[in-house]
């Protein structure tokens, strides 16, 4: 995978993910609708810029960054927590890789995104594994029992299956913390990303965290490119 291919794939996937986020906002947040309509149009242009030379991705990304600062100011931070943070990170890295003058700096910007993607799994695994409640399965039981996340009341019944949740907790922690090792080989990386997509799908089904799925996938081309650039070649 070449650098240019990875950057374009990231732009396409980010454009589609931001379009999805923005349309959801437009449906519920009437006061902020103009901001999100503007972001939806720019996201669509970013996705379209992959197939046509009519639009310059570097200017679209700069405009998206400006709208993002306005949205961050309006909500005093990210609206949708981690999903928004990943979106801003991808946008910043793409913007830098389009505006920095030297090719190696442009590559460094996309490489930084790949490093942060790896950290997003490893750090999440680390903060869980050092917590006794996660190691004993209590934390995941609590998530199902009383947290705000289960998407339906029937899902709270999962809290009555502590052994299943203990197994799930350890599988999740081990996968997250070992994710960086998968980068050492192309095939293990593909396998790890497939498992990661499955995990995001489960999160979306059980906890309604659909935005995480689309925005995390948008960062995957960067790690596939960096792995080939540094290790496979």
């Amino acid at each position: 995978m070449t650098f240019l291919w990875a950057r374009q794939a990231t732009e396409l996937l980010l454009g589609l993910a931001l379009l999805q986020h923005s349309l959801e906002h437009c449906a519920v947040a009437s006061r902020e609708r103009p901001l999100f309509i503007a972001r939806a149009v720019l996201a669509l242009l970013l996705a379209a810029s992959v197939t046509t030379t009519w639009f310059s991705p570097r200017w679209i990304e700069l405009a998206l960054l400006l709208v993002s600062v306005l949205i961050l100011t309006r909500f005093r931070g990210p609206y949708n927590g981690g999903a928004d943070r990943m979106g801003y990170l991808i946008l910043l890295c793409l913007c830098l890789s389009r505006w920095l003058p030297e090719p190696r700096w442009q590559e460094a910007a996309l490489g930084y995104l790949a490093v942060q993607l790896t950290l997003s799994y490893a750090a999440s695994g680390w903060v869980k594994i050092v917590n006794a409640d996660w190691r004993s399965g209590v934390a995941l039981t609590d998530v199902f029992r009383f947290s705000a996340y289960p998407a339906s009341e029937s899902l709270r019944g999962w809290s009555h299956w502590p052994r299943l949740l203990l197994t799930m907790s350890w599988l999740l922690m081990l996968f997250e913390i070992l994710f960086p090792l998968a980068v050492l080989n192309t095939y293990t990386l593909y396998a790890a990303l497939a498992v990661a997509i499955a995990l995001h799908l489960v999160n979306a089904f059980l906890f309604g965290l659909n935005r995480f799925l689309w925005i995390w996938i948008a960062a995957y081309p960067s790690i596939l490119w960096l792995q080939q650039r540094l290790i496979a070649n």
């Binding site: 999805q20 006061r31 993002s68 600062v69 927590g81 981690g82 943070r85 999440s124 998407a151």
Partner: protein, 149 residues
């Protein structure tokens, strides 16, 4: 530095966590906030019948789960309201109370008899093996000049 020149700087600092993010998903499971509201006929009503705001569905079909992968705006809005509650309880700021009011007023169906409305935040947490529920914040009564849609 003047107040107006500080504002763009403050906006840009909001981008810093995006450049150096902290990835601590589900690090621990703390007390969980829920929003409840109550219609009142008079501002001085002492009896309050609290109802859950946006209660989650009892069950979701596979088709609904699949649909929510692409389209789940109300759920994401409700997660934002949970984050407003957490920030309000961490340190009171009228901004977070107004964010909740704005959404409560915008999304509630009208109640013809009601002249006022209030909301509260309750916290659900585990105490040993038992779940406890306690009110953590009660918003002042708001008189409804216009019925919510």
């Amino acid at each position: 530095m003047t107040r107006s020149s500080q504002r763009p700087l403050a906006s840009l600092t909001l981008l810093l966590p995006a450049l150096l993010p902290s990835w601590r998903f589900f690090a621990s499971v703390g007390p969980s906030p829920r929003i409840q509201f109550a219609w009142l006929q008079h501002e001085t009503d002492s009896e309050t019948r609290w109802q859950d705001f946006w209660p989650r569905p009892a069950h979701l079909s596979v088709a609904a789960l699949l649909r929510r992968l692409a389209w789940n705006p109300t759920w994401n809005e409700s997660l934002y309201m949970v984050s407003c509650c957490e920030r309000l309880l961490e340190q009171y700021d009228a901004h977070w109370e107004n964010e909740i009011w704005q959404r409560v007023l915008e999304h509630l169906s009208s109640e013809p008899q009601a002249r006022s409305l209030r909301f509260r935040i309750i916290l659900i947490q585990r105490d040993s093996n038992r779940l406890t529920t306690e009110p953590a914040f009660v918003a002042p009564v708001r008189r409804l000049e216009k019925q919510p849609l």
